[in-house]
Amino acid sequence: MDPEDLRRKVAIVGVAESDIGRVPDKSKFQLSAEASKAALDEAGLTKDDVDGVFTTIITDGGQFSSMLMAEYMGIRPRYTDSTSIGGSSFVAYVEHAAMAIATGLCEVALICHGSTNISDRGGRAGPVSVSDAIFGPTQFEEPYGISTVGSYALAAQRHMHEYGTTSEQLAEIAVATRKWASLNPRAMKRDIITIDDVLNSRMIASPLHLLDCCLVTDAGGAVVLASMERARDLKKSPVAVLGTGEAHTHRMISQMPDLTETAAKVSGKLAFERAGVAHSDIDVAEIYDSFTITVLLTLESLGFCKTGEGGAFVSNQRTAPGGDFPMNTQGGALSYTHPGMFGIFTVIEAVRQLRGECGQRQVADAEIALANGTGGVLSSTGTIILGRD
């Protein structure tokens, strides 16, 4: 079997969010389980149909994630996957699930995620205390005050140096994404912002301002997959998995081979080849936007523009509603929600766009969508291309 043979063999049959935003009265496990129930309901399936479970939880109490979540929901799977490569894990799981279903290793795959990232911090974003004695290779980074935003800032600074990319160009992404969020009743931040608002927001780690950074929220999400054959008997119109790819290049930002190029260079190429589609075929793109720079680097690495041309590509609100490159249509991690790992929400929105369920923010006649997750510190990527049945 070649990877191309997976094309249109497997479908996404259910997607759902849990309560999102600030949800202090629910655990991350409950959020994950409630999203799972809603996604299964949508498909007309029950948890007893699930025989493959895919999840990872990065914070306390999350060890043995797939066992923990399956036990929590009373599921005893025969296929299990706790791959933990950051926020891209949930996009990579689509590849893993498609392979497992296509080969008969499982029939109904449940990908789920829950996080109380904001409630765990007492309701506000800010410095997180890590253990004071650092064991393992990160002892060569953390003592120097590197943070997640600091890591992405290093990439942004380097990109600016090599290609002349500007803070205004990065701000274009935040502004466009907020416009999409204003069309999504579930988005956390819906007030329109300007490029000046971004540039005048507090500097966190230069050159990244507060409004270059994603939200910190609570949220859960779930995605259910089955064979295309079975999907056609379920409640929702199936969304076909056309092609997938995954890759990682490093764990720590100081070890990134090139600060201006992500693993999407590999995962994206694989996904396009396996899907048998061209960049011009993509009607809507859902690109993990942990930071504005994440989007810019990803667009280049995926090949939507040449390396160094990302700033020009996103200029003039090209990715906003009405622009010719609709992107992050639910409002992204920058304005909709971001519970520490956002990957699953890129998949959920891509599916909804292809089903034509997005109301005011619907991209007209969307037939092919791309979702890309980035995990760690620009470390890992998962790329999927989906299409209407």
Partner: protein
Amino acid sequence: MTIRPLPQPYQDTATYWAAAKEHRFVIQKCSDCGEYQFYPRGVCSHCLSSVLEWKTASGMGTVYSFTVNHRAPHPGFIGMTPFVTAIVALAEGPRMMTNIVDCDPETVAINMPVEVTFDDVTGDVTLPMFRPVA
């Protein structure tokens, strides 16, 4: 007072941190393929040889990229902002995370030549850092 996170030396890294405490900056060179590497490992990341030598590095490098932290990334850095976290390309080749110190953060630039200096953060731990070459 909360202090910054500090390394807990282990098998791969004890030699490095012991040298730093004596204000010596050492990196590993593979005896089989001849490549330098950073951070210290039990094997060479280029050829997986276990035969590695510790070499006293030149201590010279250039700034590959940097960020000025305006918000403390950890409670141990409160009161230190703004400060510079940078990736330095060592003269020997590998890159490492560090702080750029002994200068105005706003004067740091990519490709700036820097040299190693040592910060005795506690009685037990010394962190190699870099400063602009005078």
